[in-house]
Symmetry: C2
């Protein structure tokens, strides 16, 4: 059975199709009588306005593309949950785009724009800033936002956790606990993502203790990559030379590191090596991990991007303060 259109309902109700449309357009001028007639006819024919046609005419799809390249990070799931819920509350809907080897950022952005999305959100994706300056993207029409990651890109505001404050809090906590040989596990070195947290942490130790920061790079931002990097480090470094606290750029890396430290090398956490993460992913609270970490203010961050893309807030980069969560790993 073919779907009913406004025209069909119009005939059924004995009015013009524009009157039908008005019955479905809040705040438009229509008598109660006509509206009731139309609604009855619509109900009977199971009519619902075609949002595609509406979008074509209004130039608004109420669709937002959400680009994710980092499904290995379990914290993406609560982020997606919060984001989709908040979008839906505003009548928007998320197109989830998986950035991977077969489908890169350029591809994704161009396709999203062809679909006329109202905005594009880069959800913590590990692209290089240069990527977005690609000529092919010239005249891109959909406003872009970077969520949960820094961005130096001209005209692309970022909403993320305030790294300065976060690192200061974490550092203070670690000093109080008496750690003095710090290490930092970051993601792929080539990415500017890493910069903020790593640079801050490095400067913190230089300033406070005139200490150098040992840096360990993981291949990706995932549990496996974190395990792999930790393994490489522990294998090649004799016990006496090791760091006494390892800060990981995110919880995913920290989980992997913890697994290897405890299970493969039989080291005690935090006595032999303390570990700190970043995100406060669900499993960080599990007694199996008990990870000290820094909670990203997910809801506030999501609300901020959405306010921006709705034009209810100035489109500029903001950093929102998170919260240190101390657990057994330090």
């Amino acid at each position: 059975m073919k779907r009913a259109t406004a025209q069909h309902v119009a005939i059924e109700a004995g009015v013009s199709k524009w009157t039908v449309i008005r019955a479905f357009t809040p705040g438009s001028s229509i008598t109660e009588v006509s509206k009731a007639k139309v609604l009855a006819a619509a109900e009977k024919l199971n009519y619902r306005p075609n949002l595609l046609a509406r979008s074509l005419a209004t130039n608004l799809t109420h669709q937002v593309a959400v680009l994710v390249d980092d499904f290995g990070n379990p914290h993406k799931l609560p982020f997606l949950e919060t984001l989709t819920a908040a979008l839906q509350a505003k009548g928007l809907v998320a197109i989830l785009v998986n950035i991977n080897d077969h489908y890169n950022h350029i591809h994704a952005i161009l396709n999203a724009e062809q679909r006329q999305v109202d905005a594009i959100i880069l959800l913590g994706t590990a692209f290089r800033d240069e990527t977005l300056n690609d000529r092919k993207l010239g005249g891109g029409s959909a406003p872009m936002f970077v969520l949960a990651r820094d961005s130096q890109i001209e005209g692309v505001p970022a909403v993320s956790c305030d790294t300065d404050v976060a690192i200061a809090e974490i550092g203070k906590h670690l000093l109080e606990r008496g750690y003095h040989r710090p290490g930092f596990m970051c993601g792929p070195r080539t990415l500017s993502t890493a910069l903020g947290r790593r640079r801050n942490f490095k400067e913190f130790w230089r300033r406070e203790r005139d200490t150098d920061l040992l840096e360990i790079a993981a291949d990706r931002y995932s549990v496996d990559a974190g395990a792999e990097a930790a393994r490489r480090y522990l294998e090649k470094t004799p016990a006496t030379d090791r760091v006494d606290v390892l800060m990981c750029e995110n919880d995913a890396l920290a989980f992997g590191a913890l697994d290897v430290i405890r299970s493969e090398f039989k080291l005690r956490v935090p006595e032999d090596i303390a570990v700190v993460g970043f995100d406060n992913a669900a499993f960080a609270a599990s007694p199996s991990y008990g990870l000290t970490t820094y909670e990203q203010p997910v809801s506030e961050m999501v609300d901020a991007v959405i306010a921006m893309l709705l034009g209810q807030r100035e489109k500029i980069t903001v950093n929102i303060r998170g919260r240190l969560v101390v657990r057994a790993s330090t």
Copy 2:
């Protein structure tokens, strides 16, 4: 700068807009010369066809709504990853819909249909079958599919892991290990979702050992709910009366149960209580959990739904065989 349309390119290239369209329609009749002219003009104006307009005319959006109500289950993430990647490989895109207290299935389905999606996939959502028989959904136009869950719904094929085989394999393994006081932790009792695995497991013990199955119901399918349910059970049951193996309907529940069993009640796994999950979520492999579980054939399942929705495969319920993964928890 307003986005260029076929008309603009036509003027630039000195042809009609239909010739422009043909240059972008593979297999249509156009000379190399015209095509080159059009492509050059298009390049210059940064033209890309408007997929919205195309969808309106062709009645195909290449969009699939994916409904998820279960973000508390970490295994949803790899599922989403696989699903989005597979859809994108076929030129489709996923609209991720978050089903929650403010946005129920009916809502989601109606909205998806208004957006003219090509299909709706219910990704392991815990709806009641009756929901989908709601009159409001009468004449629904988008084909629906249930993924990673059973479905008894008329006309809605399900693609899931073969429960019969899975439970038989798990049961056999548990018998070999000598367990004889089985328990089963399921999700909300009111949902038929639970039925398959629970019923099978129950029948298995009845048949093989003439043993009754102890059943524990969790409120939701999440780590927290699993922890909560395990806590309630262990608190009220003296050590001597407890089950010696607890099968959980999915890994999320099992993680919660493991945390409580080990950390709160200081019991040994598997010596005091063995635990089995279902899904083979990423953390099941972590040495912190070491969970024996049953791996769902995610890729095969995803491929099967996609083949169905593309019409390349008969639209009937299929069960695909998974794989038992034995780890330290049994």
